[in-house]
Subunit: 511 residues, 2 copies
Amino acid sequence: MNKIKRALISVFDKKNLKPLLNYLKKYKIEIISSGGTYKEIKKLKFPCTEVSDYTDSTEILGGRVKTLHPKIHAGILNKRSNKSHQRDLIKNNFENIDLVIVNFYPFEETLKETSNHKKVIENIDVGGPTMVRAAAKNYDDVTVITSSSHYNELIEELIKFKGSTSQNFRKRMSQIAFSETSYYDALISNYFNKITNINYPKKKIFYGNLIEKLRYGENPHQEGAIYSNNKFLNIKQLHGKQLSYNNYNDIFTSLSISKSLPKNAGIVIVKHANPCGVSILKNTVECYKSALACDPISAFGGIVSCNFKVNRKLALELNKLFLEVIIGNNFDADALKILKKKKNLRLIDASNFNPYEIPRFSSFNENILVQSEDKKVFTKNDFDVVSKKKPTKSQFDDLIFAFNVCKFVKSNAIVLASNQSTIGIGSGQPSRLDSCQIAIDKMKKFIMPSSDIVAASDAFFPFVDGIEKLVQSGIKAIIQPSGSIRDKEIIKFANETDTVLVFSKTRHFRH
Amino acid sequence: MNKIKRALISVFDKKNLKPLLNYLKKYKIEIISSGGTYKEIKKLKFPCTEVSDYTDSTEILGGRVKTLHPKIHAGILNKRSNKSHQRDLIKNNFENIDLVIVNFYPFEETLKETSNHKKVIENIDVGGPTMVRAAAKNYDDVTVITSSSHYNELIEELIKFKGSTSQNFRKRMSQIAFSETSYYDALISNYFNKITNINYPKKKIFYGNLIEKLRYGENPHQEGAIYSNNKFLNIKQLHGKQLSYNNYNDIFTSLSISKSLPKNAGIVIVKHANPCGVSILKNTVECYKSALACDPISAFGGIVSCNFKVNRKLALELNKLFLEVIIGNNFDADALKILKKKKNLRLIDASNFNPYEIPRFSSFNENILVQSEDKKVFTKNDFDVVSKKKPTKSQFDDLIFAFNVCKFVKSNAIVLASNQSTIGIGSGQPSRLDSCQIAIDKMKKFIMPSSDIVAASDAFFPFVDGIEKLVQSGIKAIIQPSGSIRDKEIIKFANETDTVLVFSKTRHFRH
């Protein structure tokens, strides 16, 4: 690349301009600018030509049209090695613009600050992305800088190449430039989809900010990373080893369950993305003990998520078990002190975590499945008691609790509960009968409660056999969506065995 | 909106222009155009002004700078109700452009046709997206059309509103316009990431074309849709009911397993996103019977994926069971005839399905986990036989087969195999011991093979107990990654019981 002769600077973010301008001056790089950037450069006492003087075309429409001018874009887009391009330039008395330093109107920030549509629209930058796209396309000859965080690298290049930059650097800045323009338009596109109520547009753009490159993916031979629609995650690690891909996966699973529980109540233990114990007992230590009792073996090395602020008493109890992660809606100071004694234990403050209602997506090669969250809110009227035997208040509460947990257990899912705590969870089976057996085995292995046991199924029982197995093991009340052609048989069986049977009508498959 | 006075047309896709031009003429809409579009309009014998005549500025740089001119962009971007904007227009002798019909250089098609970098770069459109973005921003006053598929709607609007369009229409076209620009730049950004070997850029854009809005998501109260990076899926439905969200999920699971099997061999049965039977026996009917025998109860209502062309004999066998979906690398004509007798049965031709090596991502609210596929290719040297007892050739083949299937079973995963077929699969358990028990129970329930039984575990056994349980149930050879602090104890136990033990060193978690 030839020495940079001319730079166009138009930045919304005016940080760190001065040191850069010093170097541009040192290498005798002429500066063109407009609006606020022009004023800032003049204030910093550097020479600068206004775009309107440069193009001999007044800025119009209150700044809507400034740089959309052939003199600017020919200066950027011409191929320096193309003779015909060079003849065009001379004929029109246009000159090269070799360096484009541009960042955009703050569309993303505006979205966060206001829901005023006019204001949002006004923050759609037209001129900025055009210059950046032109410069990035022509990276063979032009350097494009889209963020003040790259000024230092640019300065290093200018020094190293005596007022020029390397092809590698320009290519990388161009790669970054296109990620900026696509990200910017992804935001705009998603905004327009939102205001026009289009959830499934013909062309859908998902976007993410890199939060962290992870040590690896689900397994050490896989690469992994975590992205967010935001600049930062809304969970905060307070202590412990770096979070792994599987940690994140389990944390998000835990939190979706935790946040579905009554406000400021409940403990969830997760292992391999499945809950292995949930309780919503009010006393926090009792709550933990109950959740743990459901499957104390699986809980080893698991994740415990507390839907409340973790206190000292609970911390002492939690410290008795080897856990990978503990999540709380923050921690009392003395609880934190106790838990921090374990060097590796990851502590997560999730008080700012909100399960937004945005569709979930997952990819398989080039295919992407998208769906809205399973977030139906139930009222008592959504449940039909179809058996002669009616549930007691406590049975009904346990049924609702178990059915909610069911929603987060990988299908086929059977959840046994008693006293507002799970006592057996059967997950991930291709056969519903097997899930029943697993849940019953867990219950028999670890806990045989004194109060009534209830069961929830994520989908309907196709035959009587599943219900039969449950009833034979002492289950007194069952909730399931219904929908089998054998529903009548199943109701008959419930009546014969004096079992409470509730139809929820809503299915909760999760895979 | 006032009557449209002037349209700017610049389209790469020149389909269906004539009927539209007829209506523009009818409503006395003046046309500006350039390059190929100008020639096409003149050829169709409609009046048209060239952009360079309109702006009084010659087209330069071989077309790189045509429309990047204040007269064009002020004409688009001015607010018709803003007095100062209107004064600017009059002062500069600029006129309104009320309709922008633009589609872009075919970047996506170019990417498919060539890997010539210069040609790809030349197909980055700068002028087109700028006009579209300007018009879409100013949709209050301007109509933007980005695809010939919207010409009919535009014509209807022109007729209905006598040469004008409605605000609703303009807003919707603007929403589509931004989905086009963001999609376009997403392609460019991903191209630049690819050529610069950046898999995890700071800002990552995922994009999809809507293949189908689905009846619902995983459950009827959830919305669902399927997208693809391409315009069409690379699987083809030949028959049967519309595919559901869960069908797609299971199909992709089945196909990732099928395509990991030896070429043109193997049958996989999937239920609830977990395999419940896999075989790679050469005789196709035997292969199916073996896969089915692993868990005939779960297979009911499942998905069968054949990694070969389905023949008549197999079709007759398949028809004996109720299945949701049958996948094949196409079907023989008489096989198809047999299977089509079942009206609802979904038949999928997957001969064009290729598992690409693109990272997998899944979202949880605003968070996105991204990882490369678990696609390690093993050679014999990747496996260490650590027991005194060495595997026979057929044991070793079964171990490799079982370990591969393990990769696709939700963790914790235990796969029992014999004679190149699974005979027990334990999936989705928080405890490894439980997965062992489930796999053993399945085996005992359905099949007790005559030849040696082997077992594979997706991750290491933390204790001796899992291996012990397997050996007690007759398993003669075990493969597992290793890595427990009790590995030595486990080797000792294998030697004491004359069991073959192989360490794979590679883990296969999948959640």
